[in-house]
Amino acid sequence: MTESVESLVNRDYKWGFVTDIEADQIPAGLDEDVVRLISAKKGEPPFLLEWRLKAYRGWLKMTEPHWANIKYSPIDYQGMVYYAAPRTKAPLGSLDDVDPKIRETYDKLGIPLTEQKILSGVAVDAVFDSVSVGTTYRRQLGEMGIIFCSFSEAVREYPDLIQRYLGSVVPASDNFFAALNSAVFSDGSFVYVPKGVRCPMDLSTYFRINAQNTGQFERTLIVADEGSYVSYLEGCTAPKRDENQLHAAVVELVAMAGATIKYSTVQNWYAGDEDGKGGIYNFVTKRGKCAGAGAKISWTQVETGSAITWKYPSVILQGDNSIGEFYSVAVTNACQQADTGTKMIHIGRNTKSTVVSKGISAGRGQNSYRGQVKVMPRADGARNYTQCDSMLIGNRCGAHTFPYIDVQNRTAAVEHEASTSKIGEDQIFYLKQRGLNTENAISMIVNGFCKEVFRELPMEFAVEAQKLLGISLEGSVG
């Protein structure tokens, strides 16, 4: 088995094509004028420009964090372009006006932007180089009072909501990359679900990086008002390029009393080639706040792409009886590195959190689980269960777990379990003896390993995730 790991080849990244489209791009580099320019291009109200500038000034005083278990060459923040948008942007309101080249891109990615063709029951906001190019099913959702639009549009149409919630979960000063994002974010998605409304379909954003040498800084804000429910899906791909590209997004979720937000990600940014050349640096801040009693936020992520993944979708369990969940599959093959996990901050009484993390390392991949469970003194009856399993394929990869457990309340119960296993030759032979070929055997074992996470994904996503997993591990075991 080990010998064939040496021949790590055929990692076919079929999403690696480039769309030839004219872009409105500003020169590389970052200063206050660039921040002002971005804000002006988007016609933003003064409060937002102020907010951006404050974030930018804060960012200047911060240093890039290096505590994660990842290695990469320094990022040149002045060599990067902070704004790139396809020049022929679709006028709002009509999907038919989406640039044919962009439409073609999404067709190729399997995300048709025409509502007739789209997977039934999923509304899509397509984000192309950090700019939203079209949102489907808006009218139907609007009839129920649900707002689902691009972030820029929300700034224009619903400035009060933006002002109230932007930065309320991830303050601009939160960390280096969040500060950078707050200063220069270009677009993203905004969702508001009114009181008592159950969103009838999955909402989804499909992020596509196309332009070269640009940083990608989207921002997603989801607010679920009291007693509402929304399920949100996020998918990502990028062209194959030899240089690394920074993707520093921020996602904020606010769940009011009794509301539920389910956020699922299938992350498949370009991972770089077998020798680690190129690929996306995926440095993302994702956090949700269960602001009211009985709120629930559930993160599910399948991370197969990116050269480096650095993200910790977290939940602040502020409301009593609120629930936080984190289900994760992270795959690192070739030279990929992932340092990912979650933070569950128990503040309210009887708050519960569940963490299930499955790390798969192959090739020379390094996979770290980093998690924190914090129980504050007033969180009586807080409960956490964490399960953190690693699978290693070949002996040049690594699996690491860094769970921080910090308990300040005697009535809390915190349980953490971790295990490490490998795909056994005996398992593979057993399945082969029953007629399965090696590839199917491995895919079956790996999918079994990840089952607890996959079953949290919406059906279409789960199927997609299983396929992706198969592809990203292709050639890792012979």
Binding site: G398, F402, Y404, H416
Partner: protein
């Protein structure tokens, strides 16, 4: 406040320079440079992130001076009723020939460090040089720079010690503001079997002193060691200790680390499985009450294939006590067939006690069996109810269950007299916690 210790080093170097051999002085000089470069660790240092040692760092401790006279009767309560066991006693950091009992046992060479340094044991220079290079915390560097005395224990190949050797470290009343840096070196030959007990005792109940220990243990091929470490410092004292274990193939090391004293008590235990077939079993039990900070850091290096490690640490915390546990297991790429299991559990018995625990696996080999589990919580309410339903008063039930929680680890001590004494100590502690809680109500 590192200048204070740098000055102290200068003074000591000027004083003792005449008597200590050159190799020893140069080891000290190297160590003080390491310390000068590192300084004391701070909260930004990942290894010390949850261990606020500011009070210790702020204070300036002077070297322990002339000891208050101590007699065997003062010592007796700490000798497990076995005055016949071989023992080496350090009082306020200095060897006490009167209190020590060092019978001649075949294959065993044991003496205090200062005398070995003076007489020139052939291997000591290289053993210490190698050891001080491996120690990692700034406290260990400080120990190597300022340490005056300690123990050197060697057991020849194929020798078997029938009884444990007890290394006793006593701090006398009136030692407020002083520091000792005991240095221990234990080298066990091939297939030899040894039991070592290491005790830290404060004779005054309230002394605010500091003990800063470094202990190196080496197990040659096939050696077998049971190592019990009992930390019963005054509850106002500071205790910092590093234990470094290095194991060759097929050796078996079993450690029991017990900590009940100290205002701040930190123990770093590092075990290196450097030969295939080596096995390390690490058990720990710690108690915290009042404002005590009890910190255990363990690291197990699986450097070679086919080694096994098994670790169980348990803590019981009440009042405003703060527990810290960090357990690392590092499996190197060649260490295939590693079997490592780590468990740590903590009981929080008050509303203000807290625990930071971080079990950490770093695995670079694929054919391994590694698991770790951590639980934090209160006593099982169901078990408690079960006991009360059988007529046992609730507070007794609580005590019983707490004791049971501790006993599971305590039972791993094979020396019966030690087990009995610690058992009594735990019962006493739980009863006094209960009385205090009762009074508070």
């Amino acid at each position: 406040m590192i200048e204070h210790y740098l000055r102290e080093y200068e003074v000591a170097a000027a004083d003792g320079g005449a008597t200590a051999p050159g190799w020893f002085r140069s080891l000290q000089a190297d160590a003080i440079e390491l310390f000068r470069a590192s300084g004391f660790p701070g909260p930004k240092d990942e290894e010390w992130r949850f261990t606020p040692i500011a009070p210790l760092v702020r204070a300036t401790f002077r070297p322990a001076g002339s000891a208050t006279p101590v007699g065997l009767t003062d010592l007796e309560p700490f000798l497990f009723g076995r005055l016949d066991w071989p023992r080496l006693v350090l009082v306020d950091g200095r060897f006490s020939p009167e209190l020590s009992q060092l019978p001649s046992i075949a294959g065993l060479a044991i003496a205090n460090l200062a005398s070995v340094v003076k007489s020139g044991d052939g291997d000591l220079a290289s053993d210490l040089a190698e050891a001080s290079g491996r120690t990692v915390t700034p406290f260990a560097s400080l120990n190597a720079a300022l340490g005056m005395d300690g123990t050197v224990l060697r057991l020849a190949s194929d020798s078997v010690m029938e009884e444990p050797v007890h290394l006793v470290h006593v701090t006398t009343p009136g030692s407020d503001g002083t520091v000792t840096h005991p240095r221990l070196l234990v080298v066990i030959g091939e297939r030899a079997r040894a039991q070592v007990i290491e005790s830290y005792v404060g004779l005054g109940s309230e002394g605010c002193y500091w003990t800063n220990v470094v202990c190196d243990v080496r197990l040659s091929r096939g050696a077998w060691v049971e190592h019990t470490r009992i930390q019963r410092e005054s509850e106002s004292a500071y205790h910092t200790g590093v234990t470094e274990i290095r194991q060759e193939a097929d050796s078996h090391y079993r450690s029991f680390s017990f900590a009940i004293g100290g205002a701040i008590a930190r123990h770093d235990l590092r075990s290196r499985l450097g030969g295939s077939g080596a096995e390390a079993l690490l058990y720990g039990l710690y108690f915290g009450r009042g404002d005590q900070l009890v910190d255990n850091h363990t690291t197990i290096f699986h450097d070679q294939p086919d080694c096994r490690s098994w670790e169980v640490y348990k803590g019981i915390l009440t009042d405003r006590a703060h527990g810290v546990f960090n357990g690392k297991i590092i499996v190197q790429p060649i260490a295939q067939k590693t079997d490592a299991k780590q468990t740590n559990r903590a009981l929080l018995l008050s509303d203000t006690a807290k625990i930071d625990t971080k079990p950490q696996l770093e695995i670079f080999a694929d054919d391994v069996k590694c698991t770790h589990g951590a639980t934090v919580g209160n006593l099982d309410p169901l078990a408690r109810f079960y006991l009360t339903s059988r007529g046992i008063p609730d507070r007794v039930a609580g005590e019983l269950l707490t004791y049971a929680f501790a006993a599971e680890v305590l039972n791993e001590i094979s020396a019966e007299p030690v087990r009995t004494v610690l058992d009594r100590l735990i019962h006493g502690r739980l009863a006094s916690d209960r009385l205090e809680a009762h009074d508070a109500r």
